[in-house]
Amino acid sequence: MKTLVVPPLVTALLLAASVGAGQQPPVLTPRDSAFHALNRLAYGPRPGEVERVAQEGVMRWIDRQLAPDQIADGDRAAREREFRVLHYDRGDLAQLYLDAQRERRERKADTTADQTPGPVEQQGRRLAGQLAELAVVRATISERQLYEVMVDFWTNHFNVFLGKGADRFLLPDYVEHVIRPHALGRFEDLLIATAESPAMLFYLDNWESVALGLNENYARELLELHTLGVDGGYTQQDVINVARIFTGWSIKRPRQGGDFEFHESVHDEGEKQVLGVGFQASHGMDEGIRLLKLLANQPATMHHVSQQLCERFVSDDPPDGCVDDAVAAWRRSHGDLRQVLRAIFTSPDFWAPGTLGGKVKTPLEFVVSAARAVGADPDTNPRLAQLVARLGEPLYLHVAPDGYPEKQDAWVNSGALLDRMNAAVALAAGNVPGLVVHLDSIVSPTADADRLVAALDERILGGTLSPNTRKVLREQLADVGDPLQARALAVGLAIGGPEFQRQ
């Protein structure tokens, strides 16, 4: 029997939560809490990490994760430098895109020429592949795990589709300079940064919206998805007035990857009202900034975004308690995301027994957690990103502005499950070309079934291995004599099996 040594803060909260109901506090060992925190705030444990976090104390580890700048992250920084896509700015990428288009046109026009893509086109494809792989690599190897989780969260919340025209060259800059700097900052700053980003202005058509030719696309999604939520109490007239406020928010020379630019001459100068708040005539760009600050601090926005955060960290259908805790922290801290997250991680709902293992991993979470479990050391080769895509979540390629879904219904289906099993077997067998895995970090090669199963349970499954899985693994290993084969089979089955799909 494991001893009950729950972190003091957690114990206090659990006791406080259960006093009213007259229940016994749930039994969470330090290892259970560490495994849970690593599954939610991080992309799953690497072999040995559960012990390390348990030893450090899970709340101390969480506090460190909330201050990512203080966490040394040299391996990630070194690996990032190998990604050439980071060496290009918007302008360089725009030029590359134009050159590739020209090369392609010339190739198509000359029917006698070799029709394989030319060097510039190939370079463009390589960079696009690198972009997706970079996200997966950071998630896999960064020590700042919570930060990377939040980058993925905001990338979906403020989704931009890479396949839409200029966004092919605007998106890398959007990830680096809009999403990442604000991922654990203040919501208001993040909201304003996305509103002014050429990538978003292009994606939701606002760059072309002018007083005499209104385009409502951005205005509607700003209210519905980015801030208030669909039930946030706005009207069609509010949508139109928001669109009027953002007329003239545009891009300087978009085809050259230009910056944000406000075009006074096409801005709607009239008076407007949004949510009953008046916007005086002729305040130009200030109207938009004022509106974004207004929206960022609306109770509906706090509730909508907190609800989504709780769906990500607590449960597909989160209890009101943790959402209320997050909203209260938001109000107290004026939208400091670290405070909001801390409130969620200290909410009794986060540590409730039903929460543990209660969520199914998204394809990105599955692939990254699997890569971490097998000690993979991914490089710029887009192999892992391709796996994520194959499982249904090609990064930056969600067409609609709502981003990839968080809930299990969207991801658990028969075809996707088979693909996860395939991915698991390939990863464990070292059959993902170009990807080095270190199964030694789980267990040294052995055909001893008991030793294998015990190591998997401890180092990959956090002690959640079920009696049935133990039985099936033993049966499968019974007549495999080769230690390397036995280990690869066991790891593949464990990662493709039902326990590992949960977090």
Binding site: D205, E208, S209, V210, L212, G213, L214, N215, E216, N217, R220, E224, L225, V230, Q236, V360, L391, G392, V399, A400, D402, Q408, D409, A410, W411, V412, N413, S414, G415, A416, L417, L418, D419, M421, N422, V425, A429, N431, S466, N468, T469, K471, V472, E475, Q476, L493, G496, G497, P498, E499, Q501, R502
Partner: protein, 420 residues
Amino acid sequence: MIISRRVFVKSGGLALVSFGLDPLFLARAAFATNRLSGYPPNRPVLVCLFQRGAVDGLNMIVPHGDALYYRERPRIAVPATDVIDLDGYFGLHPRLAPLKQWWDAKSLAAIHAIGSPDASRSHFDAQDYMEAGTPGVKATPDGWLNRYCQHDRQHADTPFRAVAFGPQLPRILAGSAPSLAIDDLQAFGLRAPRLQPAARDRLTRAFEQLYAGSATGLLSSSSQEAFHAVQMLQQLDLAEYRPANDAAYPRGRFGKAMLEIAQLIKADVGVQLAFADVTGWDTHVNQGASEGLLATRLGEFGQALAAFAQDLGEKLRDVVVLTMSEFGRTVRENGNSGTDHGHATAMLVLGGPVNGGTVLGRWPGLDPAQRFEGRDVQVTTDFRDLFAEILARHLGARDLSAVFPGFTPDPGRFPGAIRG
């Protein structure tokens, strides 16, 4: 090769299927085949296609007989000389020309001014309502196709009863009745390139046992559906499929999905419901007229539908294809030669049982006084009236109020899409 029919009953998310050692599974199919017998070959089939992003119904089924249409869309109206006339007032977008022969054969009909009684112009809400089948109600946990499956157990004898093509199971099929999501028919199953078939089968069985014994909830039911389907597909020779009657599917995701739907229908594995998405309809900017953005999308769409009908040949007798989209687009073009989110749109029905060759539904006209909120085509047919008619008259559904809760189906309001 005859595959045994297995009872595939599920209640409350638990499939009551035993996964013992099945000799059929370990024995490789002795003869590859294109068909499995065991299911009635004339089972009625419904194929639902979702045009995600809100298709511009006015440029798909064009009211070319209306001067207002041309006045409101100076840059993006399809010129009357390009429209393929259907009845003197409406016509097909020129890129839908491959569908004209089915119209002439009375196997294709359009329903205009159809949509949701809910006024939302949000893609996500409107798609959600259309797939849940409950406009205005978000809390509906399942989709209407799935609810139909829950209430008609008669056809629940195969894992292929309801199949969605794509990496994710769509909302319309979400729910407690089993359904499959297939992204790539040929690759469906465990792949182990370096393993012999026997080793692959063994791996499949190991995973099957892992999930049968250790999985809970959705992971459990989905995995059971998966392994049963893998077993059946092993009996089919999928790689050798050639479309019949020189049917030419367009390249791309949608064409591939339509080809695989035809392939499964012809294999007689018991498909009753198939679903696929076709994207790219959110034409806010430069949507074009006879040529351009929307024309390209319609071209692929029409070519895939025509190839599907061609490929099915005789089989089209039992099949109805229904297209849907969450709402239509503004009557007037916007400042960027595109259209914004509107209200009513047009839907198509194609197949043997279809009462084809007419534009169905009451046309409210484009006059501003007749428009919804002064800007959009008014909805005169609730989408549930069309969906309910197809379920009742084509699939023989009896309990429509269970499929569309809160809605009283009235045959008097059915648009008349299925021949009596």
